[in-house]
């Protein structure tokens, strides 16, 4: 008996075998079949006949499937195997990465470190290049520098005539705003509000236009009453909070460097990436009225800079030509007397930070040079990581040869294989990027300290940084993946599957070349690191010509505070047995002294000189143990020695053309006929980057602001406490500040020390990566030579012999790397050392040391693998075939 339900079920099962038909399709067809059967049954056909005729109308399962399949296999977009297959490659790549952990780890680790180094340097570059360039209208803001030419030479200073800003505004319609900014003393000044007293470093005086020029936001206060009146001050929001807390600072009086100032406005906090760290801005008017040297068209001094914002569309070059000769219009007489030519030069705001203005124009500042140096190093490190990748992947290819053979035999095209291997490289690269970002976040605080910049973590999310990092990652992934990919995909399946594959000489040669290159880079960096450290050490060890240790200094707030009583202060201090000597002076080595103009009497035009000028009392040379080579030191019992006697250093005597020190004695200077009474031995005032300059010393109590003491080291805290108690008693209400000369002096090497630290860090990273590569390479070499080692051992080779054999294999390439790195390192060191007046002799020992260091590290790295391979039981290794 025909059962229609069973017939339909059988038909359905036959359809289900066809994979292109879904359950839904079948259900739809079944419903169709039943409708047709119903119609036929209604027309009087038997169920069996109805079923059969309904079925003949429709086609067989296969035909159906083919038709349905067609409707489904219509890809959207262009026809390509890539989109559909890409996820598969990715999956494969991820699986491989996970499966071969050791190999992946070496690759990922190296790339992570490389990308992290690049990321950190990218952030550093971003910060350094953003300094002040972020300002609105930065393109239109300039500083007016002063180019000075005279018989003494020429220079460019950032300071300019104080009336320049108002003059520019008045006379030139091209000027939108112009402001004079005077950054006052270099020392922090005391700021007091009620019970709150701090020393503040970021104090300046400025014209009202400052806010307009630099586009600084006035958060509170009347815009019309900003820096206009005498003795008014603007505070940054953070400074206002510091002194006033919740109080309203507007209209309050705050005492800045002994002057009462009314707070008339609150300005936005300066960001980290600006050179204008103005926390306290005073009205320039009071400053100009009080200080005679700031009045009128007197030659500019450092510190009074003029900033100008030109109107949109004004040609800066044309404007510069207009104002170039202003000094000769306003200060003609002075210039004539000096026989000098002064010219105005514009320097764009965007170049303030990374360029220095010189007579030859703008030159890259050390900051910019460091920027280049560290960018180059970061790229080198990434290059190392990329080389590592190529190295390890090709070395590993033997193991994968079988896989490649099978895939090729199964019909994989070369293109597909290349894509697969590239996919793997990209997965590794992006995995590394993820880790690198983590690493960056962890290392950022340390790096900030090292590089001396303030970088916010959120900077990592900036589109430019993200794009650069992703771009670098893709680039590294593709470039370093491409060679192994092509290499692997080129295997001939028959050769591979028969097990006859040897890595061709090409592959081996490439890997050797890569190891040599990696070590060449590493050794160069090691030498650079050693040279930087060596030079800093050398400078520190050099005799400076004065005694620097155990010299304690009291820093007075300003000049003249001890004009009358410095002898009393000294006597009080010396009452302590640990204080052996004391001197009052205008500066101590390493701390600013300015220049003063001197000339031998009657020879102003021919021999006038601007010399470093120190004012110190009779005991200065005693305290710093500087020997007098001719004449005598200052003497207390000779009244004219105070004010009216000069002592030069040897350079000073030479500068005026006296052949010997003795010849200088008794000569008189200036029209006031001040006699030269002595010549002291040359000593270094500045760090050894600079040569010893001609110097003059005079006793001028009005300009003393330090007391330097020679102290004994025993019980230093008690000595300092004594000094402080004397100071507090004599200068109540003043803030006591002291330092040691050696510490302050060594701070001059901060930038070299910082560079040394960065070099050390980067060199460590580079060497680490090179070792990772070597480690992987040694592993695969040992693996390939298992059989050879087995045979050698059965023939009687010793373990040490084999280890030596394997190690030599690598050692010779590391040694070869020196051939490349030594000349490169020599050239670079030479260039860098040119920055110093005192250079260490070319340190060939350091070169050898670097070579030995690299060799030792390399041998330690490969020895693990060598020993393992050599110690293996030869039976095991020989049996495996």
């Amino acid at each position: 008996m025909f059962d229609p339900e069973k017939a339909i079920r059988d038909w359905r099962i036959s359809l289900q075998k066809n994979t292109t038909l879904s359950e839904g399709d079948i259900a739809e067809l079944e419903s169709h079949l039943r409708d047709e059967m119903d119609r036929r049954a209604a027309a009087g056909e038997s169920p069996e006949s109805a079923f059969r005729s309904a079925l003949t109308l429709s086609a067989s399962a296969d035909a159906l499937g083919a038709e349905f399949g067609k409707s489904r296999r219509r890809p959207r977009g262009p026809r390509s195997a890539l989109p559909g297959l890409f996820p598969a490659y990715l999956r494969l790549a991820v699986r491989r990465t996970v499966k071969h952990k050791g190999h992946s780890l070496l690759n990922v680790l190296a790339l992570t470190v490389g990308l992290a180094a690049c990321g950190l340097v990218l952030l550093y570059v971003r910060f350094e290049t953003s300094v002040d360039t972020f300002r609105k209208d930065a393109d239109r803001i300039y500083r007016v520098n002063l180019l000075r030419k005279s018989a003494q030479g020429e220079d460019v200073i950032a300071g300019n005539y104080t009336p320049l800003a108002p003059t520019l505004k008045e006379r030139y319609p091209q000027v939108e705003a112009a402001a004079m900014v005077f950054s006052g003393g270099f020392e922090p000044q005391p700021v007091v509000y009620r019970d709150k007293a701090f020393k503040e470093a970021n104090i300046s005086s400025a014209d009202p236009d400052l806010l307009r020029v630099l586009d600084i936001a006035l958060l509170r206060g009347d815009p019309g009453d900003v820096l206009v009146r005498k003795d008014t001050v603007l505070l940054s929001a953070r400074t206002a909070r510091k002194y006033f807390g919740p109080e309203d600072p507007l209209g309050k009086t705050i005492r800045i460097n002994d002057r009462d100032c009314e707070v008339t406005g609150i300005i936005a906090d300066p960001p980290a990436n600006t050179q204008f760290q103005h926390d306290i801005v005073m009205s320039a008017r009071s400053e100009i009225e009080r200080e005679e040297f700031l009045q009128g068209w007197r030659p500019g001094i450092h510190g009074t800079m003029t900033l100008v914002k030109l109107k949109p569309g004004v040609d800066a070059g044309g404007f510069e030509a207009l104002i170039r000769d202003l000094p000769h219009e306003y200060a003609a007489e002075d210039l004539k007397k000096l026989g000098a030519v002064n010219k105005m030069v514009l320097q764009p705001l965007k170049t303030f930070y990374l360029y220095d203005a010189t007579v030859e124009g703008l030159v890259p500042s050390p900051r910019l040079v460091y920027l280049y140096v560290f960018s180059a190093i970061a790229l080198l490190i990434l290059l190392l990581a990329g080389m590592n990748f190529i190295n390890l992947s090709t070395a590993r290819s033997i193991r994968r040869a079988g896989e490649v053979g099978v895939r090729k035999a199964a019909g994989a095209t070369r293109r597909q294989l290349v894509l697969q291997f590239l996919g793997e490289a990209l997965v590794t690269a992006f995995l590394s990027l993820g880790l690198a970002v983590l690493f960056i976040l962890i290392a950022l605080p340390a790096f900030e300290g090292l590089a001396g910049v303030a970088i916010e973590e959120s900077a990592l999310l900036e589109p430019a940084i993200v794009a650069a990092l992703v771009g670098l990652t893709v680039l590294v992934g593709l470039v370093s993946g491409l060679f192994p990919a092509l290499f692997l995909a080129s295997f001939h399946p028959v050769v591979v599957l028969k097990g006859r594959l040897r890595t061709g000489p090409g592959g081996t040669r490439l890997r050797r070349a890569l190891v040599v290159a990696q070590f060449a880079i590493s050794i160069t960096l090691i030498i650079a690191t050693l040279v930087v450290a060596g030079q800093v050490g050398y400078m520190r060890r050099q005799p400076l010509g004065f005694a620097k240790e155990q010299r304690l200094v009291i820093n007075f707030r300003t000049w003249g505070m001890m004009e009358q009583n410095y002898e009393t202060v000294k006597a009080e201090l010396l009452s302590h047995p640990s204080i052996l000597a004391a001197t009052a002076c205008s500066g101590v080595p390493g701390k600013g002294i300015n220049r003063t103009y001197y000339y031998p009497t009657g020879l102003q035009a021919e021999k006038g000189q601007a010399l470093r000028s120190l004012r110190a009392d009779h005991d200065f040379f005693k305290v710093f143990e500087i020997p007098v080579v001719a004449g005598r030191g200052f003497q207390k019992d000779i009244a004219t020695d105070t004010h009216d006697a000069l002592i030069f250093n040897e350079q000073g005597a030479k500068a005026f053309g006296w052949a010997t020190a003795e010849e200088a004695i008794g000569k008189t200077m200036t029209d006031r006929l001040v006699p030269v009474v002595g010549i002291v031995k040359d000593f270094h005032w500045w760090g050894l980057q600079r040569p010893i300059e001609p110097m003059v010393v005079r006793v001028a109590p009005g300009l003393f602001r330090y007391i330097a003491m020679k102290v004994e080291t025993k019980d230093l805290p008690a000595t300092i406490a004594h000094v402080k108690s004397v100071y507090d008693r004599l200068y109540p209400g003043e803030i006591f500040e002291s330092f040691f000369v050696d510490e302050a002096f060594d701070r001059q090497y901060a930038s070299e020390v910082r560079m040394g630290a960065l070099f050390r860090a980067f060199t460590g990273v580079a060497l680490f990566i090179a070792c990772l590569g070597l480690f992987g390479l040694a592993a695969s070499t040992a693996e390939q030579r298992t059989k050879e080692i087995g045979i050698r051992k059965t023939l009687g080779a010793s373990v040490t012999g084999i280890v030596r054999l394997l190690n030599w294999e690598f050692a010779k390439w590391v040694l070869a790397a020196n051939v490349i790195s030594w000349p490169a390192a020599y050239f670079l060191s030479q260039k860098w050392l040119e920055n110093f007046a005192v250079r260490m002799p070319m340190p060939w020992a350091l070169f050898a040391l670097a070579a030995v260091l690299a060799l030792v590290v390399a041998l330690l790295t490969v020895s693990y693998q060598s020993v393992r391979a050599a110690a293996a039981n030869p039976v095991e290794s020989l049996r495996y075939e």
Partner: protein, 112 residues
């Protein structure tokens, strides 16, 4: 009997034109085509369903399963806005062909 090529070409406008009147399922569509053509067009299910699925993939129609009055599960198809627009395009093209042929055969042109 209409040639296979012409049947294939006309399936899409035919289905769209049927569905523009309202929801319908496959079997019913075949019946309607048969009725309207006076039996000259007889579609098979293996031709119709793939076309329906393709039109659905292209977003011209949408489907849903519904229990019919007789308790049978049927897949109903309905026109989308995109399908409606596509029908207009098809209509224009077919009328162009029709008008051209009509003129050639000197028949009264159909209203556009």
């Amino acid at each position: 009997m209409i040639s296979k090529a012409l049947v294939a070409a006309s399936t899409k406008p035919m289905i769209l034109s049927i569905l523009v009147r309202g929801e319908d399922y496959g079997y019913q569509i075949i019946q309607r085509v048969k009725d309207i053509s006076g039996g000259t067009l007889e579609w098979s299910d293996n031709m119709l369903y793939p076309v329906l699925h393709r039109l659905e993939n292209d977003g011209l129609i949408v489907s849903r399963w519904r229990l019919s009055d007789g308790g049978r599960l049927r897949k109903y198809y309905r026109l989308t806005d995109k399908g409606r627009a596509e029908l207009e395009v098809e209509r224009g093209q077919w009328l162009d062909v029709h008008n051209a042929l009509s003129k050639l055969w000197e028949l009264v042109p159909a209203r556009h």
